[in-house]
């Protein structure tokens, strides 16, 4: 009944291939090993690519060394959707590749899944995009150099109420981050005297916004607060918004900046003109550091545009370098974490700092408007809220 001999074949084949693999990873050297767990494939592949670009750019500028040691950057793909692969990748980086620092984490679930690894293995874990506030509370070895969702939402709400927007209709996608953005916006906006005239949660998988735009057109609020997964949904929403002449009806849109960031802006196209958003980085942020950064970025990656995720990758490596300078090259986790708390420096996005008690990032959030700047769509910064701590934490 059972295919006897075929199983013998399998056993032999698997054993043989296994031995060859084991031999390969035996040798070791003493470079500074940094392991990045990123969504390199799958629906969020562009996140992984941008963060890796930023990290490699920093190494290029620092001659491939940090605190005098050559840096070996190991990138592992976690497909972005399966947190158990993120945990597996983190575990292998720590146990097998013996990395000194963990980094990356494009999405919240992968950061949550890997946090216990950082605690048990006592390895610093630098979050470079996952945006849920609670991530830094999951382990004392977590640092964040990107942003949190409430940290982006509060400033835009503040700006809206201070600039004559009285009645807002909130449209958010019906998933975790959408609920958090909606709650934070309502809290800050109503506190400032604004009024929410309507709210709707669109299903996460929604190929067509037509019906919701119709509802908004009927209610005619001053502005719409929009929060949907960036990508084809932003494109579809903006196309519908313009096509149905809501813009002509004087309805404006306010949103968090990840909806008009450089990776997606060209796909949204001219429909994005006039869109007001809040984010910590824009390609046209004028500072000498950013000018150098964008030049280096285009030199290395002509086909892509530098966006906030690449800057988070860049700053992640910079945080490691500056912390190791402070600890004199000592990479033991507790010393590293102690030195990293309160660390501040000027990044291409502007001045940023690691909050000593929450280990989260404090940074300036800029209010920007989409305009065409010498032929290219850009988020032109015209206002800012300095040193914003993450309001999401008590």
């Amino acid at each position: 009944m059972q295919p006897r001999t075929s199983i013998a074949w399998v056993t032999a084949a698997l054993a043989a291939s296994a031995l060859s693999l084991a031999a390969h990873s035996a040798w070791a050297a003493d470079p500074l090993k940094v392991g990045l767990v990123l969504p390199m494939s799958g629906p969020f592949a562009s996140y992984g690519k941008q963060i890796e670009h930023g990290a490699r750019l920093y190494l290029q500028q620092s001659g491939g060394t940090i605190a005098g040691r050559p840096v070996e950057l190991i990138v592992k793909d976690d497909t972005g959707v399966a947190p158990e692969i993120s945990k597996r990748a983190a575990q292998e980086l720590v146990v097998k590749d013996k990395v000194d620092v963990l980094g990356g984490f494009g999405l919240t679930p992968s950061a949550f899944a890997a946090a216990p690894i950082a605690t048990e293995a006592k390895k610093p874990m630098i979050v470079m995009n996952a945006a849920a506030s609670a991530i830094t509370t999951k382990s004392n070895y977590v640092l964040r150099v990107s942003h949190t969702l409430p940290q982006l939402t509060a400033p835009i709400a503040d700006w809206a109420v201070k600039n004559g927007i009285r009645k807002v209709y909130t449209l958010v996608a019906d998933f975790g981050p959408g609920h958090d953005a909606e709650a934070q916006f309502k809290k800050t906006f109503t506190a400032g005297g604004g009024e929410i005239v309507g709210e709707v949660r669109t299903p996460v998988k929604n190929p067509d916004f037509a019906p919701f735009l119709q509802k908004i057109k009927d209610i005619k609020p001053d502005a719409v607060f929009l929060f949907v997964p960036p990508g084809e949904q932003t494109v579809a929403f903006m196309k519908g918004f313009v096509e149905r002449d809501l813009a002509k009806a004087g309805i404006r849109i306010v949103a968090t900046g990840d909806l008009t960031e450089e990776d997606i802006l060209d796909a949204v196209g001219d429909n994005a003109l006039g869109l007001i958003t809040s984010l910590q980085y824009s390609e046209v942020h004028n500072s000498p550091e950013n000018a150098a950064y964008t030049r280096a970025y285009y030199a290395a990656y002509p086909k892509d545009r530098p966006n906030y995720m690449s800057v988070s990758g860049f700053d992640g490596m910079q945080l490691i370098a500056r912390t190791l300078e402070k600890t004199g090259g000592d990479v033991t986790a507790d010393k590293f974490m102690a030195a990293a708390r309160g660390m501040s420096w000027t990044s291409p996005r502007g001045s940023i700092a690691i909050d000593p008690d929450t280990r989260d990032i404090t940074q300036t959030i800029y209010i920007r408007k989409v305009e065409r700047v010498d032929g290219k769509l850009q988020n032109v910064e015209f206002d800012a809220v300095a040193n914003v701590r993450d309001p999401g934490k008590p």
């Binding site: 009944m1 059972q2 295919p3 006897r4 001999t5 075929s6 199983i7 013998a8 074949w9 399998v10 056993t11 698997l14 054993a15 296994a18 031995l19 693999l21 084991a22 990873s25 990123l38 390199m40 494939s41 592949a45 992984g48 690519k49 990138v75 592992k76 793909d77 959707v81 399966a82 947190p83 158990e84 945990k87 597996r88 575990q91 292998e92 720590v94 146990v95 097998k96 919240t108 679930p109 949550f112 899944a113 216990p116 690894i117 048990e120 293995a121 849920a132 609670a134 999951k138 019906d174 998933f175 975790g176 981050p177 609920h179 299903p203 996460v204």
Partner: protein
């Protein structure tokens, strides 16, 4: 040939363990020694093998096609996850609750799956899984929604073995559960019940004519399959100490069917070998080329279908027959 001299051994010894099978089950021990640093990967291969086994029972043995088997996997994962997140961190209790929960869900939905052709069953199972996905996403405060279920604390297995960083406990726990359930599935396949399932798959019209209640048998195996999938889901939730929406996703069901067909449906070993081959290939290719590993994996699948019809086991069976032929010829 008279009654006296009739040799019954082929039927009596049909379920005897063949030495090659015993050698096969030494692989986990060998893998533990050769790959001490990849225990989390090996644990997940064992869990996927169990999940694939559950689909094999339904598809390979009873002929029920399903593109929504993740519904039971996810249901079990959330059941065990919620149990652990709310104080009962004992792993075995988690498995039991997950098995019961998924079995109940399987039993209820089994009546929807009994009618219709392959395509209808594909779509009904898909619809059920998608609906569960939407519900899990809606109940964000219960399941954590897209951000995932946090706060899963596992108490040590059997009171002694803690779930540590290196994943030793998690590995042996997963392998033990896989072997136990594989052994039970093997007994089931060789039992009268298993024989009647094969009869249903080979000629469903004949079964009522020999007095077999076809729908009751299909419901039973669908429920057992669902329980197996639920336990696999619970194992993942406990060893990863985290559950996210993707445990219910379409990708997981589609990939599972891939793994089973790759391994060769209709043989229990097909499910286990499919999981080993697919996940190792995925792991190795992904390390070599993090961005475009999917291209090579796709190529592997196409090659397997073109040259090893009905999966690795099919190919091996032909190989071993060819080799067998040689051996017989040689003898």
């Amino acid at each position: 040939m008279s009654l006296a001299t009739f040799d019954l051994t082929p039927l009596r010894r049909a379920d005897r363990w063949h030495p090659a099978e015993l050698a096969f089950w030494l692989l986990p021990v060998a893998a533990y020694l050769v790959f001490p640093d990849n225990l989390v990967l090996l644990t997940q291969i064992a869990i996927t093998a169990l999940f694939c086994l559950s689909l094999d029972l339904i598809l390979g043995y009873a002929g029920i096609v399903s593109l929504g088997h993740a519904a039971f996997f996810g249901f079990g994962a959330y059941a065990a996850g919620l149990l652990a997140a709310n104080g009962i961190g004992d792993p075995l209790a988690g498995l039991a609750v997950a098995a019961l929960a998924s079995a109940a869900l399987g039993f209820v939905t089994s009546f929807l799956v009994l009618r219709g052709s392959d395509l209808t069953r594909l779509m009904v199972t898909l619809g059920i899984a998608m609906m569960l996905y939407e519900v899990a996403n809606k109940l964000t405060d219960l399941t954590g929604g897209v951000d995932g279920l946090q706060g899963i604390e596992m108490t040590p297995l059997l009171g002694r073995f803690t779930f540590d960083l290196y994943g030793k406990t998690a590995y042996w726990y997963a392998v033990a559960v896989l072997f136990l359930l594989f052994w039970a599935a093997r007994k089931l396949v060789h039992s009268p019940f298993g024989l009647s399932l094969k009869g249903i798959r080979l000629n469903v019209a004949r079964m009522p004519a020999i007095g077999a209640p076809v729908n009751a048998r299909l419901s039973a195996i669908y429920t057992i399959g669902a329980a197996y999938a639920g336990i696999a889901g619970a194992l993942l939730a406990q060893t990863t100490q985290f559950v996210a929406l993707d445990v219910l996703s379409f990708n997981r069901s589609a990939e599972l069917m891939l793994i089973l067909v790759l391994g060769g449906s209709g043989s229990l070993y097909g499910a286990v070998i499919g999981a080993i081959v697919f996940m190792s290939a995925h792991h190795v290719l992904s390390d070599m080329n993090p961005e475009y590993w999917q291209f090579w994996l796709g190529a592997l699948l196409v090659v397997v279908v073109l040259f090893a019809r009905d999966g690795v086991m099919g190919g091996l069976r032909r190989l071993s027959h060819a080799a067998g032929g040689l051996r017989k010829g040689a003898r």
